[in-house]
Symmetry: C2
Subunit: 276 residues, 2 copies
């Protein structure tokens, strides 16, 4: 059963060359989509972010229909899974200099869906800081060593994820999700202008809650918050019960938001047991 | 003719899996060695830096003899070339979390040696800034998007390289080399504590010139310098004649240093024409 496919911009099956710039320099972007009942969740949003990342890196944009067809072919035998799409600049060029006529590669793969989490999760603070690089903030590029280092700070499996600050000690995100906090009744999320990824689920929440605001937040402010949740496009919305020594009660706003998400995207239904 | 080989830590020929973390996250390090008359130049120094990078990233260290043997097998038919060694954490783990028992991969490849440069070169300033990340400064990891973006700011082939500042406007390096400047008769090189790679050639120069110092340097200071050179392990020492609007005369210290390097490493002989 084929679980990985490499194609070129024309949609033709390709080899992955070991001098691909995705491997050499992380010269590319990726998306990780939840697939439910055979359909990728938030396809358009993921596709738009991938295109935006390609534009920032000046990688020629792939054609949506071609990539979507290739994904569907791979999903025929996998109705509930994770679909990962990597776009690299392909091979060539002289060292860092990109080739004049790049031949990007698209690597599509399916992976088991993670076990669904319904209970509030525990977080920790990471020591690893995110460097501030406004040119790359927001896009989901392949340079992810900071997240790898941060995630490998702990082994305790009861800790779901770790929050990261940037090198100016502004809170940014967890290693794999965006963050919302409720302070004096006001929902806030961190500004993604110097580090972190502008998440699909984050954008969905901001659309549902026009009153929520982006803000620069300190670790102290987060710890004093009345409620916290993290969100990403694979896990949906996860309430946080504990962050280091700070504890947070259940919050009706979060439950309401989870219900609204489940209505719109059944992949995130809280009651249903979702096998793969 | 085989020009690329993938091995595991035991030295066995391996496949490169498309879920390798080197591609997914840039989770690895690399070295680029000049090979002259069949011998890799500064092998020990490259090997030590690779080991140090692996230690920082907590990737199990490969065995030197195993990798060296694999390199020599590949170099049998390539006596003058570039040898690239990539070490990745291999496949596995759950997203950013590294696997408990990683199986690193080593990708060895040979590439044509670049045309030898004997004349002083022209540099420019890059707009792309380097993010400040002390945890990763100095090592030659696979997260190189900043260098790719910087190098792609210009197409003019008369410009050899571009100098980069970090986000605090401290000068760090060029996209592919370290920098030395002479100010009031004193040779200085930039501190590599928040960004940039601690170069092999840079270390060689510092060893030759105990009086040279590391310093935080501004763009203004560089432009006012009496002489400049850049250096890396593939190009050796390259005098700079022009940087943007600033011009620099030939400098006897640089010529002396180039001669000393050529004596110690014939690969860098200035007079000899080195074919591949």
């Amino acid at each position: 059963m084929t679980t990985t496919r490499v194609i070129n911009l024309a949609g033709e099956i390709s080899d992955f060359a070991l001098n691909d710039r995705g491997l050499a320099y992380g010269d590319g972007v990726f998306e990780t989509l939840l697939v439910h009942a055979g359909g990728p969740v938030w396809w358009s949003e993921h596709w738009q972010r991938l295109l935006h990342g390609a534009e920032v890196l000046k990688i020629p944009a792939p054609n949506e229909a071609i990539v979507r067809n290739a994904c569907h072919a791979l999903l025929e035998k996998h109705t509930d899974c994770i679909l990962k799409i990597i776009l690299t600049r392909g091979s060539g060029g002289r060292a860092y200099a990109a080739p004049h006529n790049p031949e990007p590669k698209i690597i599509i793969s399916v992976h088991p869906a993670p076990t669904r989490i319904r209970e509030p999760v525990t977080l920790r603070w990471c020591d690893t800081k995110l460097a501030r690089q406004p040119l790359l903030a927001g896009i989901k590029h392949l340079n992810r060593l900071e997240q790898v280092m941060a995630r490998n700070e702990w082994q305790d499996e009861t800790i779901f994820d770790g929050l990261m600050c940037d090198t100016e000690n502004k809170v940014v995100c967890s290693t794999s999700a965006n963050l919302f906090v409720k302070i004096q009744g006001q929902w806030l999320t961190t500004v993604i202008d110097a580090a972190g990824i502008a998440g699909i689920a984050r954008a969905w929440v901001l659309k549902q809650w026009p009153q929520a605001q982006e803000a620069h937040l300190s670790r102290f402010q987060i710890e004093q918050a009345e409620a916290i949740f993290i969100c990403n496009a694979v896990r949906g919305i996860l309430a946080v019960k504990r962050l280091g020594d700070a504890e947070f009660p259940a919050d009706q706003d979060i439950r309401d938001l989870q219900s609204r998400l489940a209505l719109e995207q059944p992949a995130f239904a809280m009651g249903e047991s979702r096998g793969s």
